[in-house]
Symmetry: C2
Subunit: 309 residues, 2 copies
């Protein structure tokens, strides 16, 4: 197996591209791919100030690292969910990367705000842990962006994440989600930050290889609450199809985006300009789900966060 570019021994075989590459050429290839994705899909404008949502895992840390390397100077945001033996170690990896990149990272501690970790919070509000986590992360990340003047929230969703979520939405034709996914979710000035996913065409395997080649120190374990059986089943299914028909995952996601485009770019949030009476941020009802959550903990509406770097 030789590198298609330089002829040296290859380190990775990319079946969906029918090519093999050595370490240096693979790094160049993946960075080029992300850079092209950002330009082709117009993810970032010249006037934008991006910030990366980091978790400490391979995807978000690789993305943060790569963004800064590609000239998109970006700070980070971390929501510390207060999961024992997990959140602390994730934060360590993030601080380490902040030092390397010499960038700031904003940190919101769920335990400081609510006196509980995410699992107890979820129990109090009687919601699945992942659902409570989503509510908090979406709110806090958006709020930090707006408060601090960042115009684009960059997330590390990769091809496998996108394809498996899409798979679930298509299998049950979930109208509330199906045509809403996109590479760019537009924002609303002063209220909702634009969200982008520059890794949406890069597979989990490619990103893991990049992280290893670049010596990026990330937390290997998945979040202990993230064992969503269905998503894992769908990822497994798609990997098996990919194995026999390389390129399927990319075709599945790209084909979907074409259909969405033809349907006329449905945007996120049919929120009809409604804003939370308590905090002023976008909502579907009088009070946003985050403020309702805060109410249950009697902690008022103040959102405080740390800053590192």
């Amino acid at each position: 197996m030789k590198c298609r570019v330089c002829g040296k021994p290859a380190n990775i075989n990319l079946r969906s591209y029918k090519t093999s590459l050595c370490e240096d050429d693979f790094i160049a290839f993946l960075e080029k791919r992300v850079s092209t994705t950002i330009k082709k899909y117009r993810l970032i404008d010249e006037t934008d100030t991006p910030i990366v949502a980091v978790s400490g895992g391979k995807d978000s840390l690789s993305l943060w690292y790569m963004m800064n390397g590609l000239g998109y100077a970006s700070d980070g945001i971390y929501v510390d969910l207060g999961i024992e033996g997990y959140s602390g170690r994730s934060l360590e990896k993030i601080r380490q990367m902040a030092d390397i990149l010499q960038r700031k990272v904003y940190i919101f501690h769920v335990r400081n705000a609510l006196q509980e970790g995410i699992d107890s919070v979820a129990k109090v509000i009687r919601r699945p842990t992942c659902s409570a986590c989503g509510t908090i992360k979406r709110y806090i990340m958006n709020r930090i962006c707006i408060d601090k003047g960042y115009t684009v929230l960059v997330t590390g969703h990769n091809l496998d994440d996108e394809a498996s979520a899409l798979f679930g939405n298509v299998l049950y034709w979930k109208k509330e989600y199906l045509w809403k996914k996109n590479v760019v979710l537009e924002g609303k000035e002063d209220h909702l930050v634009k969200k982008i996913k520059p890794f949406f065409l890069c597979s989990e395997r490619e990103i893991a290889a990049y992280a290893i080649m670049k010596g990026i120190d990330y937390i290997y374990e998945e979040c202990p609450f993230s064992k969503d059986a269905k998503t894992l089943v769908y990822k497994g299914i798609l990997n098996r199809i990919e194995e026999s028909s390389p390129g399927t995952k990319i075709m599945f996601v790209k084909g979907y985006l074409n259909v969405v485009k033809e349907k006329g770019d449905e945007k996120e949030g049919d929120r009809e300009g409604r804003y939370c009476l308590q905090c002023g941020y976008p909502t579907f009802s009088d009070k946003c789900s985050f403020c309702r959550l805060l109410d249950k903990f009697g902690t008022g509406c103040s959102v405080e966060f740390d800053q590192y770097g």
Copy 2:
């Protein structure tokens, strides 16, 4: 395991309906399901004269049997592909059923018309066997319906067939097929017969159970050329998902039909009223693909078929 209806020992467990049934109640259940499908989706009008496309397998023979039992008196059509050791035995099963039902069956012999079996025909026209078979079957069945005055061609496609075909279309977002599938494919008077699939909500397993319970003698082997690896892979995948989430296949197919409905009932054949200059039947170009096939065999345009019963 007891029958939910009568309390006697159950013969079959239907996980997607969360129920178990004895033989008699299962037969009543499946017949009711098909009868409701026909009415709810308006598959057959009072003035219609239906005819069933039979292959000798469990789906088409069960359907033919059930249709006549439900009061939809139907003859049959069989295209004998001239596959040694297979087509002859299929025809035997069909004749047997024609005798039981006391109905006619029209038989087109590929070997009589083209002096070759389907595999050689496919080689001559340089097409995959299943593709050549599709061209011939579509043409012949339509032509017999029009010539003989049948207004609905009834096919035995079951839930697994529909779900797996849909799966492949969605996975690659095949626009040429994706929104064209439906329970009824409308015809065009004097040229294109209406096509319906009354079994589209009945699983392969349910139909096989019905055939066994009713003592329907069908050919067990699949067509030796039908080993479409992809369809089998998709069926396997859907069965595994169904196993852990019963009801998924039905939701997948029904959800799709809802989307198609919302899109405004796209009909089969954007043939813009073009008709073959040679035979006068619908086509995409000057000459239809069946006439072009006949040309290669120098057999002219006459289509002759046998009649049994």
